[in-house]
């Protein structure tokens, strides 16, 4: 494996981080919205959100990615591989994130909400001033843990040709007829990324407590 090949792996790592990061950036608030809808028992929307979460939690990222990449254009909407990749990861991680947010909401002390209501705080203000400042601390370790799982699922988007780490490694392998060295190097890159995230998780757990995190 040449130095140039390694550089293209690093490019792939950049792309993995970029696309996963974009997925997380969309998926975390989307998950929060789903959790709020279910928590507040919004009519019509709440059961839909529940079905969405259940369905997406049992859908393989590979299959979802193929669906989005091939089926969305049949609706007359053009979609590039990157966009399809980001969308896949965002939709998957939103389902898992919503469960983390929801656990935090369900465990939120009721007496605090009662107190806020007694002071005449409207719902939006209660959410912004009372719930959220505490909720995000409780949910953070779980969210970081889910980010780790998302990175591990991200090679799924290689199926539609996004040149992230895995795709870059197979390409180098195909060019050099020696697939093993680029695969090992790619594995090393993933391990490095995930170790950083695991370290981050330990840090936030220590800092904000362990509630909401799951192995």
């Amino acid at each position: 494996m040449t130095w140039n090949a390694f550089l293209s792996l690093l490019d792939g790592a950049g792309l993995t981080l970029l696309i996963s990061g974009a997925g997380i950036l969309i998926g975390v608030p989307l998950g929060f919205a789903l959790a709020l809808i279910r928590w507040a028992r919004v009519p019509v929307l709440a059961p839909i959100a529940a079905v969405y979460v259940s369905l997406l939690r049992s859908t393989p990222a590979v299959t979802l990615c193929l669906l989005i990449f091939f089926a969305v254009p049949t609706l007359g909407i053009e979609i590039g591989a990157w966009t399809a990749g980001i969308l896949t990861l965002a939709l998957v991680t939103a389902a898992f994130n919503s469960e983390i947010w929801r656990a935090g909401l369900l465990n939120f002390p009721a007496d605090q909400l009662e107190a806020a209501r007694a002071f005449g705080m409207p719902a939006g203000l209660r959410l912004r001033r009372i719930i959220f400042p505490q909720l995000w601390r409780v949910s953070l370790p779980g969210l970081v843990n889910e980010a780790t799982l998302l990175i591990k699922a991200s090679p799924a988007i290689a199926v539609i040709g996004v040149a992230e780490i895995t795709r870059a490694a197979t390409r180098i392998g195909a060019q050099t007829y020696e697939p093993l060295p680029p695969m090992l190097a790619a594995t090393g890159l993933y391990v490095a990324i995930i170790l950083v995230l695991v370290g981050l998780q330990r840090f936030v757990e220590k800092r904000y407590g362990r509630i909401g995190a799951q192995a």
Partner: protein, 218 residues
Amino acid sequence: MSHGFEIVWEHSDRLVAGLVNTVVLSLLGAVLALMFGCVVAMMLMASNRVLALATQGVVDLMRCVPFLMLVYLVYYGLPQFGIDFDNWTAGLAALVLYNTAYMAEILRGIWKNLPRETIEAATAFGFQGRRLYTRIIFPQVFLAAGPMVGNQLIQIIKDTAFLTIIAVPELTQAASGIQAQYFVPFAAFIVAIFIYWALCALVEAGTFAVERLAEVRR
């Protein structure tokens, strides 16, 4: 405009064949991983510190690797050692290898939290070695492991979809095949996704039933 569901229905035999492979791979992978996981859990719990730490290192490393990378490493790596697999077997080997680490970690976590007293009582009654593990420790570990093993089985089912990349004829591969031939992407993949959903719901129901049996035994 047709959505292609009737085409998918016409070729449902291909989906069923894919589903059978997905189920067989998942179950076989889970059972074998659980068996090897027991051995690895024993190594993790060994009183020999060097063995326990070395095993922990390998398990932690494995849990940092994306499943698809391990599939590739097995698929490309083992032939270099003169071991030649067909794709199906390579996929199963990767599933087992990968999930052994997860299962071992699940079992170890439960084992560590087992009440020490019941094990001490067994020691006092003359249990030791293999019989202590098979009669006293692992039955208690398994009774508590239901929900976590169920979760892992769902993860395994989803991971089998990665095997489409090395052309294992599982469910996603079958859906891909139908979509490539007749260009019915929406119908083909949506049907596959709903089948995955049903499979996972089945696992959850099974986990629930096992939990009710286990509840009284702890």
